[in-house]
Homo-oligomer: 557 residues x 2
């Protein structure tokens, strides 16, 4: 069966409410991923039984119609409330994967600015805590949709969350992956943006997009008043306490919010600092430096210290780490969708994002594994070198690499842009399979009993869960009710089951009414901010938004 | 003959140096407009004799080749030094109009930013005086081409030349006409930008494009030292005197630099101010206001005063003014190239700009006249109303409207967005065919002997020539040597002959070595900044740039 025919038949089945017919058009183990169009949730139904159950709960209210094939595997459709884009992969005439996404709400489409002066909203409908790329991009979408929103940011300037990081920080994703909504980087932008360029871009973006953005504003406490169905939020703005009210609260506080610093016995006479507070590497010229951790920050900081003339730089690696060469990732992983070549082939950012979204998380690992098999061959020299240097590398528990790992736990990898070479060459020394056991005044003692003389110890040991923000800003009770944020339930390290098939609590309703989590990398923030913005707009306009299958909290953090 | 065949034959004639054959491929009165590709000048050769003469002087050195038809009337070609785009209109198998434009220099193509930190240039190759949209856009191009440039701007912030204008100022060109190079406005930008949006955009642009931009810096004096082939420029930066040296000096000081204020006898007890210094219209609530002039500023200021509740607003119109309704201009004039519909038809900004450039100035009036014939019919109500109100309107001496008039004298028109309606309704009063003869303490006396009581008199009487900047910043001698800046030599009012067929001294070599003028509206600044940047880059790299047919100075101002 051709996609065109399948879609026509499928649309007809949905229009006449024939759930049995519609779900039997999938292969038995088929997937239907829905972004807010049918479920008012972000939800993958796996197999015919789940698909039937989803349709039984949603079809009558959603009233889908006008399914029309566009080009290739893409189609458009409508629901009672809005217009959507979908994607279809057939296997032997039946649907293997189906994606449905809501793109706009009827009667509430984005409009061009009038140019007339505007006054700031008397009361925001949405309060966004955190003014990094996530909060900013979401605020831009809400602005275009006419949803009054305020972003509060603890720093003095938009972009400071980038500006204040270590000097050598660069994006390791290519520029085509990193655009913000509405305003893409210009064509000559560096492929891998230095942090200060991103910082300045964000600052500019806030201004150009007309975002209501409060700098030097700290969120102290947020309380949901059920009777009023709104949040009361205590903030300190420029040192002055202030109370805000908003119907919805979005925590866009980022995945890099709560530093993980291991508690180490003993006392250290040198400087010990978490990577998030590590400043100018040039300050450590001629000094002995120990960097604990083996993820991106650890690698970047080691390389910067070497480049700036530190006397000795040692990485302390506890567990295996995925390493992938940037050029190879560009070629094998990003290139088909996010590259100069992709743009030349007519793959817009929207098309690339929707293509990524069209792959159910369940089948992602099997799609990613071939990339890493090829990489292992192509970069055999790199892996041989790392092995010889004693570095513990992996391609993930199931060989599915960085993208899977990122979705499961958000960390544990390095995209090689130079530090691995330094490890191989011995310019960055390595202690692998060990952890820090204790401090001495002039050194650290490792778990294998060896000792490393040190003037500086950097803990590049990552960050705690986003759930901690709910505990910190709202309450332990709400944090527990909402449960773990991020992760798919893959039952791999740091991503305990059960399988949920979507990122937990991200961009969708949570167990706490009117509380939302927003974030992720630049691509995710860009793409999913659309669905979060539409969910908020629908609620503001009083459009019914019955949420299908709200996930329970399986884990507390 | 098909364009394809014509081009092949023409290219072959050029490649074998057969000037006679090449020029005979034009209709006898045919045009060849060249932007820097053949002439290292901006030059239209009119008729076979001029075309032959141009080729005789340039062909051997330019070495054109590889003419290839692209789509429709567009083609690409190469020269020894660069690559170009061209456009061809045939009449009976012969060329009626030919456009050749240089787009990049071989070996010096624009490259993507590396992301590595940069230090500001020790000495600029180009000093740009004036940091409005013109200077900024040119600086961005030079930056992408690796030409060290500094922009000096007298205001405290980029964008202030817009920010400080009267509150109600909006662009009367639509957004598609107004993009800066490299970084287009986002899709939701207002069609007609309010001045503060433009100001903020320019400020952001300077930062994002990495332009070396000195604010609060005044140019006091520039002297060309022939022996060194460079300019010595005395500036005051943040109150401190400083001397700069640069090989090239670009005056991007704008067409709105020297206010024309008529000298009026008598003494006035109220406020008399030039439109460039007119601030908040709300300050004149309940007051009697006289606005002298009938161009864009006069109309805008009258409308703003009425809206803000001035007791009486009178426009004093001396001479006929072109008035065209904005919607009608959008539909008939801009729409085909600069509109949402044009974008949907695949007409990029570059394509639109080159299409405009492809029309020789000699034939522009005949192409424009039908627009105004149609407008006269379509907006008969407007013109009838204006006539009834006594307003003196025109469509230009030859009926060719606003675009022609702008090229001839840069002023004398109004794009109706509301003020004409107010004139028709009598909310703006009118005294037409008169000028201000004298001041009395509480009134102005007009040339017909009548008197207008006044608390405020605004002189919306325009600006002097850009040539005055050369006199002011360099010397009378250089100003006279360079002669009049702007105008085509159409022998209409304020554009004395002889016919030169291009805008005098704009974006091309002048009689003063290493002195350039840059400016115009946003579209012209965007498009012609490319050719000026390429001319400067070629000189920096030592590429031979023999200038064909440098215009003499026909007029002093």
């Amino acid at each position: 069966m051709e996609p065109q025919d399948w879609l026509q038949k499928f649309g007809a089945a949905l229009e006449r409410g024939d759930i049995q017919a519609a779900s039997s058009m999938f292969v038995p183990e088929g997937f239907w991923r829905d972004l807010v169009a049918f479920t008012w949730n972000i939800r993958t139904s796996e197999g015919r039984a789940e698909i039937s159950a989803m349709l039984a709960a949603t079809l009558a209210g959603i009233r889908p119609c006008n399914f029309r094939m566009k080009s290739g595997e893409w189609f458009t459709f409508e629901t009672g409330a809005g217009r959507g884009i979908g994607h279809l992969r057939l296997r032997d005439g039946q649907a293997w994967t189906l994606l449905t996404t809501l793109q706009e709400l009827k009667g509430f489409e984005e409009t061009r600015e009038s140019g007339k002066p505007e006054s700031p909203p008397a009361q925001p409908f949405v309060l966004i805590v955190g003014g990094g790329q996530g909060g900013i991009g979401l605020a831009a979408r809400l602005k275009r949709l006419g949803v009054p929103a305020v972003v509060i940011e603890k720093n003095e300037r938009a972009g400071d969350s980038w500006r204040k990081r270590y000097k050598s920080l660069c994006l390791h994703d290519p520029v085509w992956y990193d655009h913000l909504p509405y305003l893409p980087f210009p064509d000559h932008w560096p492929v891998f943006s230095p942090k200060d360029r991103i910082a300045d871009w964000l600052e500019m973006y806030v201004k150009v997009m007309g975002i209501e953005y409060w700098t030097s504003t700290v969120c102290n406490k947020a309380t949901f008043e059920e009777a009023k169905n709104e949040w009361t939020v205590q903030v300190t703005r420029n040192g002055e306490p202030q109370t805000l009210r908003a119907a919805h609260l979005v925590l866009a506080t980022g995945m890099s919010g709560f530093p993980n610093v291991p508690s180490i016995e003993g006392s250290f006479a040198g400087t010990a600092v978490h990577s998030s507070k590590f400043g100018d590497p040039a300050a450590w010229k001629g000094k002995r430096c120990v960097v604990v951790g083996s993820g991106t920050s650890a690698h970047d900081i080691c390389a910067a210290l070497v480049e700036q003339g530190a006397a000795e730089v040692t990485m302390v690696q506890r567990a295996p780490t995925i390493v992938a060469r940037s050029e190879t990732l560009m070629d094998l992983a990003w290139g088909p969708l996010y590259s100069e070549q992709a743009v030349a082939r007519g793959i817009t950012t929207q098309l690339a994002d929707l293509t990524v979204a069209s792959v159910p998380f369940k089948v992602l690992p099997e799609m990613q594994r071939p990339i890493y098999s090829e990489m292992r061959k192509r970069d055999a020299d790199l892996y041989a070198g790392l092995e010889k240097a004693g570095f513990l590398y992996t391609f993930g528990e199931d060989g599915s690499g960085i993208h899977s790992l990122y979705l499961r736990r958000g960390a544990g990898y390095y995209i090689e842009v130079g530090a691995s070479k330094m490890i191989i060459e011995g310019r960055i020394k390595l202690k692998a399979g060990v952890s820090v056991a204790a401090f001495n005044p002039q050194s650290v003692r490792l778990s294998d009993g060896s000792e490393l003389p040190a003037d500086l110890v950097v803990f590049a040991t990552g960050y705690g869960s986003m759930n901690q923000w709910a505990r910190e800003l709202i309450s332990q009770e709400v944090a527990d009710k909402v449960g773990k944020v991020w992760g798919l339930g893959s039952d791999t390290k740091a991503d305990p089951g059960p399988w949920v098939g979507e990122l937990r609590n991200m961009w969708k309703p949570t167990q706490q009414p009117n509380l939302w989590f927003h974030g992720g990398n630049l691509m995710q923030s860009r793409h999913y901010s659309l669905y979060l913005a539409l969910q908020l707009k629908a609620r503001m306009e009083g459009i019914p938004t019955p949420v299908y299958s709200l996930d329970p909290a399986h884990h507390k953090e």
